[in-house]
Symmetry: C2
């Protein structure tokens, strides 16, 4: 599909602001990959442009997955009986070690790329493994989908099985730089992102070196921060030089101004850490289902939003069970309700409108002007056919658009995807 | 299907006890609607009986839904923005009022019965509305499915809209007794259950009268108990004669020995209430998704189990979003993890094995010897085709049976139902 200018007709939904949905039955207009806004009727001058008719269907900005592990895709939805550190040892490291085998990697990453294409996601921050060849294969496969992704070769050189250790920091950094050079600018849709697994997995030499690569190449940076109490204690012991977990990353160059950084989880940040993330404009990838499944806890998202921190959602497969970000929206709402009820009655729950905002415009900002149909935003659009959900009930034909969108969060799955556009290109 | 004796071949899974799954690739044998146990090979004497070949598929006892509202089926999956009492006023009462229209009732209840048949549930405790004619229609429709259900005409005569009030207690009781007489013994699969909505909706005269009907007819009894803090405060004001919410029910005849009683939610029971429910052998219908969606809280199920209380699971549609009890299992695990993490580090989370037990043998006990393939249990069996979930990944063919079952809790939906037997009869 190469139309310079085209429109989608249907029920357009996007976030006016964090709390208000803009809903218009009409046309969303695209020119050169950029949204021109939503109109009740096509402007007269556009009466002859290509118009995809999705009348009655829901059209939303593409969903943004700020945190997902591609190699873990095959083992999602089970092994939910352990906390983070034991879970990594028992389930994750053995799985990731398999990716030294390029044939296995191609099979799994092929399935992952296909599933991501069939999901509601248009852009994602993706973790691979330490294996460069497998990682480049993942980038190749994701490139073909037309989805916009940032993909990380994972860095690890301590506290992990031999098979997953990159060894000396100098070697790891050399490999990482080679991978950066091999991948940066190679793709239209895919770009590298620096990806130390988390502080316990990386020596200081490796982390400081990655911080220098961040400055040199200006590429974005992702990692895990403050997910589990035992992990936090461990980092405290590993980084006696630092005030706290976030500060440990900051000192090691993770939050520099030269490029964006996203940190997954952030369940237990203290006030100083919140201040630091806000000041450095670090994004938080909120992964509520993962945080529940690994019994990590509940991240205080209301507080982060009130402090002006950028927040988006992550599926965090495989600690999260699904690539379906509607589940992440629902989980964000649910987790925030329990946080309010059980812990802090002054931090009101996240509304469904806010969860939608987080999954679109909130996370989208990590990719630029992304996550809205307002004029000037990159044209990512997902078309939803929820007739299966309506037919399944009886009074559903009387549902409002908002109710239909909310039901997608509780009952929708990938079978409801009707069509998907990324950056103005029809990809599905 | 009328075979006196037959077998199902496949991977049979049932709870040996609360913590241990019994898994056997073999045959589960049925005679006259009763399980004869699971065998690795068919006994020689049975070599010529009918055998349904479900090789490679999972065969589990039918799931038991101890708490579901049929009239709320059309409005599940949205309106999750309020707590219990406001939610009832805004969403539920207007919906339930529609069931004075028998045509509307037939349409909705038809869809509900069909969806329940297509679910993994074989037995359920079902709420209707106050409307007797619609309630009998619901019973007719459920009877046809072959599922075993207890169905309640709901009693309400205070603190509710005019359209949903039965008015004078004497009239309400007369109507209820007529309904009992009209329905008891009429069906093979369906039986009436006394169903006051909850104490705030029923005058004392009505509740005491229902207690007398319980004694006179020996029919089971269901209601809501201790779901939401505001509700609990309200009951305290409404029942100054009673020690607590559970005691208020007990005094009004809800927990008599003449028949079984199941109480939904039980989120905030104190020690005296726990003692009372344990002593009276009252069942708790744990509805974790509902309790999260309405921000009610988390029921301390670990404690209830340790006190010997009977616990089963409820979907609680429409505060729960789905009839799929695998979701209730997952939600029970998830809620218990947060309870452990956020509130009581000495109450260990519910394991997936325990959640499976609750959804089968735990709730099954409300229906007699139900919920297991052990010899002597009623033969309810659900056959699961999870190949869609396996194909969706890549390494899944290497999954263990336990992992496949656990994945059903996170990713399975009704499309995975291959076949269903209730009381020895093939219903789907």
């Amino acid at each position: 599909m190469t139309e310079k200018r085209f429109a989608l007709k249907g029920i357009c939904i996007y976030s006016k602001d964090r709390e208000i949905l803009e809903i218009k039955d009409g046309y969303v207009l695209c020119e050169n990959g950029v949204s021109q806004g939503v109109f009740e009727a096509l402007p007269e001058a556009d009466s002859d442009i290509k118009c995809y008719d999705f009348s009655g269907k829901l059209i939303i900005p593409g969903l943004i997955d700020l945190h997902v592990h591609a190699p873990q895709y095959p083992i999602r939805g089970y092994g939910m009986d352990l906390e983070l550190l034991a879970w990594l040892e028992k389930y994750i490291f053995p799985e990731e070690a398999k990716f030294s085998d390029l044939e296995y990697a191609e099979k799994v990453y092929g399935a992952f790329a296909e599933a991501l294409l069939k999901s509601f996601t248009t852009r994602a921050c993706v973790y691979g493994t330490i294996h460069t060849a497998a990682g480049l294969k993942l980038m190749d496969l994701l490139e073909e989908t037309g989805l916009k992704t940032m993909v990380g070769k994972v860095n690890m050189n301590r506290n992990c099985p031999e098979a997953l250790s990159e060894g000396e920091a100098s070697e790891a950094l050399e490999d990482t730089e080679k991978w950066l050079k091999a991948s940066e600018g190679k793709y239209r849709n895919t770009q590298p992102i620096l990806t130390p697994r988390f502080i316990p997995s990386c020596t200081d030499a490796l982390l400081y070196g990655l911080g220098r690569l961040k400055v040199r190449y200006g590429v974005p940076y992702q990692s895990h921060l403050s997910e589990n109490p035992s992990e936090i204690e461990w980092v405290k012991r590993l980084c006696p030089d630092s005030e706290n977990y976030a500060d440990a990353y900051a000192r090691r160059g993770a939050f520099g101004p030269e490029s964006k950084t996203v940190m997954a989880h952030c369940v237990y940040l203290n006030d100083e850490e919140i201040e630091l993330l806000s000041e450095k404009e670090v994004f938080v990838a909120h992964c509520p289902e993962s945080n529940i499944n690994l019994a990590s806890g509940i991240a205080p998202i209301r507080k982060y939003l009130s402090k002006g921190i950028h927040v988006g959602l992550g599926s965090d497969v495989a600690a999260g069970s699904t690539l379906n970000l509607f589940v992440a929206m629902r989980s964000a709402v649910q987790a925030s309700k329990l946080y309010w009820r059980l812990l802090h009655s002054d931090e009101v729950p996240i509304s469904m409108e806010e969860a939608f905002y987080l999954a679109t415009k909130g996370g989208g900002a990590f990719f630029g002007r992304v996550g809205s149909f307002e004029k000037g935003y990159r044209f990512d659009a997902v078309v939803i056919d929820d007739s299966r959900l309506a037919a399944d009930g009886t009074a559903s034909q009387e549902m409002t658009v908002k109710e239909r969108l909310e039901r997608m969060m509780y009952l929708g799955d990938a079978s409801c995807l009707a069509s998907k556009f990324v950056d103005g290109i029809l990809v599905r």
